[in-house]
Each structure stands twice: as C-alpha cells, then as structure tokens.
C-alpha cells in the first residue's frame, strides 16, 4: 500500500472503531437475542410468536400504511416548495430557506406537542370551527389516524424538501427555456423535462421519509389511538414494560429488515449517491432501464394531455420564464403548515390557567417561572447541554478526518467508506437505542453522560459527515498546493491554511450535531428519570402523563435556544 493509502486508513480509524464498537457490535449482539432461549441455545420460538393472534402483523401493516401515506403527503406538499426554493433568485432563496430550515432543525418533540394544542378540544382549530358555526360543540380531532398523519407529515416534509432541492438545484434552467423554443408548452416541458430529471430527488426523498416514518413512535403515541400503534411503540413496550429482550430483538429485526429492503430496492433503481444529493443527474445507474422508460412515457403523456387541454381552452400561460404565482402560493401554504405549530405553541405557553385553552387567557409568565425554578428541569437542561456539547466535539473530531480520507479515496473503497459512515442513517433510531441499552446495561453505562454521548454521536455522525464533505468539496485544493510550494509542511498547511478556511463550515456542522443531540429522545428513553434525565426525556415523560401549559413553556424555551443555534449556524455558513 502507498503511504497515502495508509494515511487514509488512519484517518478513518476513529470513525471505524466507534461504529464497530457501539453500532455494529451492539446491534449484532442484541439481534442475536431474538434466536436464543434462556440457556443460550438456538430457538425460533420468539420469531414464531410473530404469527400469534395477528396483532403483530396488524401493527406492522399499520406502520407500513401510515408511513406510506405520510410519504405520499410529504412528497406532494414538498415538491412545489422544493421547486420554489430551488428556482428562487438569491434573495428569495434566503427567505424560503429560512422558513423551511427553521422547522427542520427545531425539536421533533416540540412540533409533535404543538399538534396536541392545535387539534385539542380547546385548540384553535376547534375554536375556529365553533366561531364559524360549522360545529356546535368541540370535535375530537386528536387521537385519530388523521392527527397522526398530520403530525408526522409536518415533521417530515422539511426532510423531503431538502432532499429534493439538492437534485432540483442541479437541473439546468435553460433546459426548460430550450423546450419552450422547440415548441413545448410550459406544462409539457415540466412533465417531459423537469419532472423526469427531478425523479432521483423524489425517490430519494420518499425513501428517507418512509424509513424515518417507519421508526416513529412519538406522533402515534401522542396523537393517535390504540388503532394507530406502530411497531416502535411495541418495541418500547417489550423493553421497558415487559423486559422481554428476545421478542424485542425480533421486532427490531423486523423493523430493520423492512428499512433495509426498502433501501436495497432504492439502490437498485436509483443508486445511493442520490441520497447525499451528490448524484449528478445524468449518472443514474439504470437511467435507461425499462421501468424508467415507462415512467418517462407516462409523464410525457400526462404533459401532452394537459397541454392539449390548455390548447383547447385557449389558456395562455405566462410568457416569461419565472415562478408561476400558483406554485408560489402553494409553497406559501406549505411553509405556513411547517411554521404553524411553532407559532401556535408560543402564545399557549403564556397562559395563566392550569389547562390549555385557545385563545390563551390571563397572560403571564407563571409557567416560565415554574420551569426555571424547578431543580428537575434545570438539571435536565444542564445535562442535555453538556451531553450536546460533548457530542458535537466528539462527532466533529471523528467526522472531519473521515471526510478528508473519503475525498481522497475513489471507486470501491470510497463507496465502502461512505456506506459505513452513513449507515446509522439507515437503521431506525430505536433499533440503535435498544441495542445500546442492551450493551450499556452490561457495561454500567445506562443513563450516564458517557453512554448518552456515545449514542448521540452514532446518530449524529452521518449528518455531520455529509455536512463536512460538502464544506470540504467547496475548498480549493490549490490553496494547499500553494502553501506547499511556499514551503509549508502538510501539518502546517492544515493548521495555517486549510483549517482556518474551513473552520466556519466545520463549526456549523458541529452546531447541527449539537441540535441533534439536544433533541434526541431514543437513547435516553430507557434510562431512569429524575436527576439522570435529559431535556427531551423530561418533556416526553411529562407529555405521556398530561399535556400542560408547563410543557408549552418548556417547549418554547427549547425552541428559542434551538432557533438561536440554527441561525448562528446559518450565519456562519453564509459567511464562509
């Protein structure tokens, strides 16, 4: 091996060790339990329990259908917003990006809570229905299939948008113009040119949304009824209530298998590179496969049919290339839907009442003072901050060298390194959390700050890795060459040239790790409460009992902190 190759291996070692010891090994060890009896012999009895009474099959089916519909709604509502974001001019882009990124990076938990308020008996939707005279008494909107779908879609649309934007931004705008000069109506140009070219983004977004939705438990637990129970809730039940590791392992295996099968299908059809947004539009591996050909023919036919209708009606579309007003209005609605939970939760937190109501009455800071003087809340907050800071530091220290190494590799070794580093993204968080819980119990790490940092680092690693790659790709390698030609050794080049130039990007990547850790519930879920609690865990425990104004106040505080961090990160990035 050449010395260069050795140094790449060296740079990848910390990431490899972390993932091997606390990701691959624990999952392997834990999933094994699914096939072991009490004496450690092989058995299929746990697996066969899945056939029992149809319950588990029902739950799995529910999980799949809910995830399917959430995916459909996320793509349908996200596509126009992504289109607007990708095609806006510089100023417009800043505006749209802010309103799409802010919800994206604000707490999952808080946004799910907000729907309890919005859809509650005393919430704004019911208040509006009553005021408009549409109904004469408050309707039960919560604890239903619709509430779960709304809550989950709300959380996942930003994912879909950001994944699609990555691909759409790479679509050459003159292609649509060219189609126009060749005689295509705008609607034909869209279905024949733009839609086919944006498909890798759409399928990548669908995959990410589907896999993430499949592992959800917060929204179905807080917004759904027993009929909307999803597989992850069963896993939690098996672990924390029934302490049945063996069957929990089987359920985790089922969840993991579903995710991996989806991923494998996606990889066959589209190719993994579309996930990171690094796919060039023209390199879709099976770009000319039969399935794609059929899809293109269908899309083209739809475009032609719509164009013929428009022709018959004598509609004349706007002549100049630009964003159609209707698309922008639709995108505006999507943004409103994204921001609504955040906007409605805040006023509720200032109520002086002991219950939730809309509009809020007796405004005051009563609940804020209660949160800020409670030792339990304060210690949870302190612990969360320390863990988040440590997670950010650890993740960056591991991801930066790994990203450097990745960019030096090529071909198979590059794909292997990439697959390894982003693998935690493909495993539902709950599977990681339960596996770590199983291993930590033996190591005495359950509920410790160290344990939390390890778990959070595993979860944050793929995001930080992708962010750092993006930063490094914009770095002009000729600066290093210039430094070398001026007499700087590789180490001094890194210290005096490379790192200072990329530092802002790295810090913003670190802030994202910080946010992910601050909002992570899965890993802390099984630890005891009390002084060992983290902020999300406190909020979750509180919410599963009852949703009170106290929680709204705590959520608003978390929201404020996270927004500040996100805006700081965005500032740093734009100043690069």
């Amino acid at each position: 091996m050449k010395p260069r190759a050795w140094s790449s291996v060296l740079l990848l070692t910390p990431a490899g060790l972390l993932l091997a010891a606390f990701f691959i090994a624990p999952i392997g060890q834990f999933l094994q339990q699914g096939f072991l009896d009490r004496e450690g012999g092989f058995t299929l009895s746990h697996a066969l329990r899945l056939r029992e009474a149809g319950t588990y099959a029902d739950v799995m089916w529910t999980s799949l259908t809910i995830s399917f519909w959430v995916t459909v709604f996320s793509i349908l509502s996200g596509y126009p917003a992504a289109y607007v974001l990708a095609n806006a001019d510089r100023r417009g882009k800043g505006f749209w990006a802010l309103f799409i990124l802010l919800p994206f990076w604000s707490s999952f938990l808080v946004r799910t809570f907000a729907w309890i308020v919005i859809l509650g008996r005393q919430g704004p939707v019911n208040a509006a229905l009553l005021a408009a005279g549409i109904s004469d008494r408050p309707q039960e909107l919560l604890y239903s299939w619709g509430a779960v779908i709304i809550g989950m879609t709300n959380v996942l649309v930003p994912f879909a948008i950001l994944t699609m934007v990555g691909v759409m931004e790479r679509i050459d705008k003159t292609l649509m113009t060219a189609a126009g000069t060749l005689g295509a109506r705008p609607v034909q140009a869209f279905f024949r040119i733009y839609l086919p070219l944006s498909m890798p983004g759409v399928t990548a977004a669908a995959l990410l949304v589907f896999i993430t939705a499949l592992g959800f438990f917060m929204a179905p637990a807080l917004l759904g009824s027993a009929r909307e129970t999803m597989i992850t809730q069963l896993i939690i039940q098996q672990v924390s209530d029934l302490v049945n590791w063996h069957f929990a392992a089987i359920l985790c295996l089922l969840l993991l298998a579903a995710s991996l099968i989806l991923f494998a299908v996606f990889d066959r059809l589209v190719g993994v590179s579309a996930l990171s947004g690094t796919a060039s539009l023209e390199t879709g591996r099976q770009a000319r496969s039969g399935a794609n050909h059929a899809a293109y023919a269908i899309s083209a036919a739809i475009g032609d049919a719509l164009a013929a209708v428009a022709e018959m009606l004598g509609l004349s579309p706007p002549r100049t290339a630009g964003l159609a007003l209707r698309t922008r209005i639709w995108a505006m609605f999507v943004v409103l839907f994204l921001v609504a939970p955040l906007l409605l939760l805040v006023p509720v937190s200032f109520t002086g009442n002991t219950y939730l109501s809309w509009p809020p009455v007796n405004p005051g800071l009563r609940w804020y003072s209660q949160v800020l003087t409670s030792p339990a809340w304060l210690s949870a907050a302190a612990r969360s901050f320390i863990v988040a800071l440590a997670t950010a530091a650890v993740t960056v220290a591991i991801a930066v060298p790994a990203a450097f190494a990745f960019l030096r590799l090529s071909g198979r070794s590059a794909s292997a390194a990439f697959a390894l580093l982003i693998s935690p993204l493909l495993v539902p968080r709950m599977v990681i959390a339960v596996s770590l819980f199983y291993v930590f119990a033996q190591l005495g790490l359950v509920g410790t700050a160290t344990g939390l940092v390890i778990g959070h680092a595993i979860i944050a690693l793929p995001y930080v890795f992708i962010a750092v790659i993006a930063v490094l790709k914009t770095y002009d390698r000729r600066l290093d060459q210039a430094a070398a030609s001026l007499g700087a050794s590789p180490l001094r080049t890194a210290r005096h040239v490379t790192l200072p130039v990329i530092s802002a990007g790295i810090i913003s990547a670190a802030l994202f790790a910080f946010i992910i850790s601050l909002d992570e519930l899965n890993i802390a879920l099984f630890a005891a409460g009390g002084l060992q609690s983290t902020l999300p865990k406190m909020m979750w425990d509180e919410a599963t009992l009852q949703f009170s104004p106290l929680l709204a106040a705590a959520s608003t505080l978390v929201l404020a902190i996270m927004s500040a961090v996100v805006l700081l990160a965005a500032r740093l990035r734009s100043s690069v």
């Binding site: 113009t177 060219a178 126009g180 000069t181 002549r319 100049t320």
Partner: protein, 354 residues
C-alpha cells in the same frame, strides 16, 4: 423592396432604472446571416432573447414575415435557438433530443424518424443517434444542438455564442461547418458573439452593439475598413488611432499632417477629430503614393508566425503599430524606417466618447 424576414421596430428592455437595451430597430433579410457582435453587457443577448420570446420587451414590436409576434409565447414562434451551453436534455438520447420539437408539433412517427435521420446526416452524426448527450464531446453536443434547432424547419435560427465553450481548434472547425450549413440550408440566422473573427468569417452583415444600443450595422468589410466610431475601430481588428485638429484636407496630430481621402466625414476646420490607420495599411519604405510619408525608429519587433508586428516611434507624440509579413525584408529594433500610408486608408472617426 420585399419585406424583411425579421423586422424589429423600436424594441427596448428596462429593468427598473437599468436599461438592458435602448429602443432598437433592425431588419434581417430572408436567408441572411446576421451577427450581433459586442462586449458583454452590450445588449446583444437581451435582443436575441426578445426575438426568441424568452424575455419580455418593455416596448417595441417584432415582426416575423410581416406578422406581429411580440406577444406570442416562445413555443408558438417557430424560431430555433441554439443555446450557449447547448441545453440538450440529459435524459433523452441524441435522436430523442432532435425529435423533441417534432413531437411537440405532433408529427407522425414516420415523419419524425426520417426528419431526425436527415438532420443528423446534415451535422454528420448519424452514428451517434442512440447515445446520451453526456457521452458526446463538446463539439458533437454543439452539432446535436444545431440539428435540434433546425429539424423543425424554423423561420429563423438564433444562436447564442454557440462556440463559446469550445477550444480554439474546434471553434475554427465548427465555424466553417456553420458557414457550410448556412449556405446549404439557406436559413435566416441571427448569431450572437463577442468574437470579431467569428463575426467576420460567418456574417453577411454585422450589427455591432455597445452600451445597450447598435453602434454600427454594416457589411463585415465595411465595418473593418470604414468603422464609424472609435469603439467600432478598436473592437474590430487592430488599430492606430490618432487625435488632432481638423485642417483643410486632413488633420494635424502630433506635428504630423494626416491627409484623408474621406473629407466629408470630418467636422469643420479647427475642431478636434480622430482618424484610424489599420496596422497592415502602413507600408514600410517609400511607395510614392499620395498620402502620408514619415520616418520613425523601430522600438519593438514581435514575430507572430506568418506576420510580424513592429512598434515604430515617429516622434514624442506618435507611436504606430505596423503589421508586415514575415517574408518581408527583416527589420531590427533600433533601425530607422520610412513609412507610408495612402490617404484612402486614413479613416476619420465620428467624434464622441473617446
């Protein structure tokens, strides 16, 4: 006189207070190769985009074969456009790209097949019909873009710096190819470029643009030999420009009397004026022709392969660039030479911005 193919009347484009194109009129004859030549920001691309229907004019009228198309959307104009980056659809094969405008016009599959084959034959790429654009070289992509723009027999073809992204060798080759295609097809072409050599080689007429308006509209030779303004003289070809006072029969600049054969172009005596002398119109040695004769010291000799460029210092105020053939009698720096210029080749420029 027959009506022009394309008649542009007072077309203008403003963005807020900025003017991308002052009210401009231009008529292009059927079968003509018209080049819009100018530096970036001169308005040439804006004008082209308005002809294509891709930019909405702030005022004015565009007529194609006498009928007003100003309000017609791009897809109804029947005007082919070759874009600078080609804008080939990356998910469609070469044949499908070329077929696209015909499909939009709902032609039968048979008609499409034969038209596509003919167009690809014309650009000499029939063997690449099944390839995707990314599998082609830059020059091949350019030809496909051209085939796609002419396959539906548009009224006019617009080309926006179509050779801009190619290297010099390929550019030279494709220039000749475009010239051949224009001759063979007899299509009306409006071509945008900032490369004066390209404009000279290809055009029937050149429309030189500067500062959002037409600077000079002329035959290529006329634009080169009789530029009307200092900008035109400097933008097209190499130039010596001398500024002085108008006298009877010429101007006096730097102590030299420069007689010109184009007296009608000069302002009244005593006014300030500039004249142009092309470097290759200055002859070394005495020719006995009526005109300007002077001597100077050669300060620099630059070999350019087939030609040689000399810098000759005539006096403290005047330094001239002279172009000679490499086969001429060798000249060394420091030598004193005599120079002559015919009065015909001393061309007055319109006063105005220096």
């Amino acid at each position: 006189m027959s009506q022009p193919k394309l008649d542009i009347i007072g077309i203008t484009k403003r963005y807020g207070h900025a003017t991308a194109l002052e009210p401009t009129s231009l008529a292009v004859e059927a079968g003509e190769f018209m080049t819009l030549l100018g530096p970036s920001g001169s308005g040439k691309t804006t004008l082209l985009m308005m002809i294509a229907g891709l930019t909405e004019p702030s005022g004015g009228v565009i007529r194609l074969d006498g009928s007003d198309i100003t309000a017609l959307p791009a897809y109804r104009r029947n005007i082919g456009v070759v874009f600078q980056n080609y804008a080939l659809f990356p998910h469609l094969t070469v044949a499908e790209n070329v077929a696209f405008p015909l499909r939009m016009r709902r032609q039968s599959d048979d008609a499409i097949r034969s038209a596509v084959a003919r167009a690809l034959d014309l650009v000499r790429l029939p063997h690449l019909a099944a390839r995707l654009p990314r599998e082609l070289s830059g020059g091949q992509q350019q030809r496909v873009a051209f085939a796609r723009a002419i396959v539906f027999e548009p009224e006019i073809v617009l080309m926006d710096e179509p050779l801009g992204a190619l290297d010099k060798r390929l550019r030279d080759e494709l220039k000749l190819e475009i010239r051949r295609l224009h001759r063979d097809l007899g299509t009306t072409i409006v071509y945008v470029t900032h490369d004066q050599e390209e404009a000279m080689l290809l055009s029937d007429r050149i429309c030189l643009m500067n500062n959002a308006r037409i600077e000079q509209l002329d035959l290529p030779t006329a634009l080169y030999e009789r530029p009307k303004t200092r900008f035109a003289a400097e933008f097209v070809g190499e130039s010596n420009i001398l500024t002085g006072r108008v006298e009877p029969a010429g101007i006096v600049a730097g102590g030299l009397h420069l007689p010109t054969a184009h007296l009608s172009l000069l302002p009244g005596p005593g006014a300030e004026a500039s004249v142009l002398i092309r470097p290759e119109r200055i002859a070394l040695g005495a020719t006995g022709e009526r005109g300007l004769a002077m001597t100077g010291i050669v300060t620099e000799v630059i070999g350019l392969g087939g030609t040689r460029r000399l810098v000759v210092r005539v006096n403290d105020a005047i330094e001239l660039t002279v172009l000679t053939f490499s086969g001429d009698k060798p000249v060394a720096a420091g030598e004193t030479v005599s120079l002559t210029v015919a009065a015909e080749d001393i061309v007055p420029l319109a006063s105005g911005k220096p």
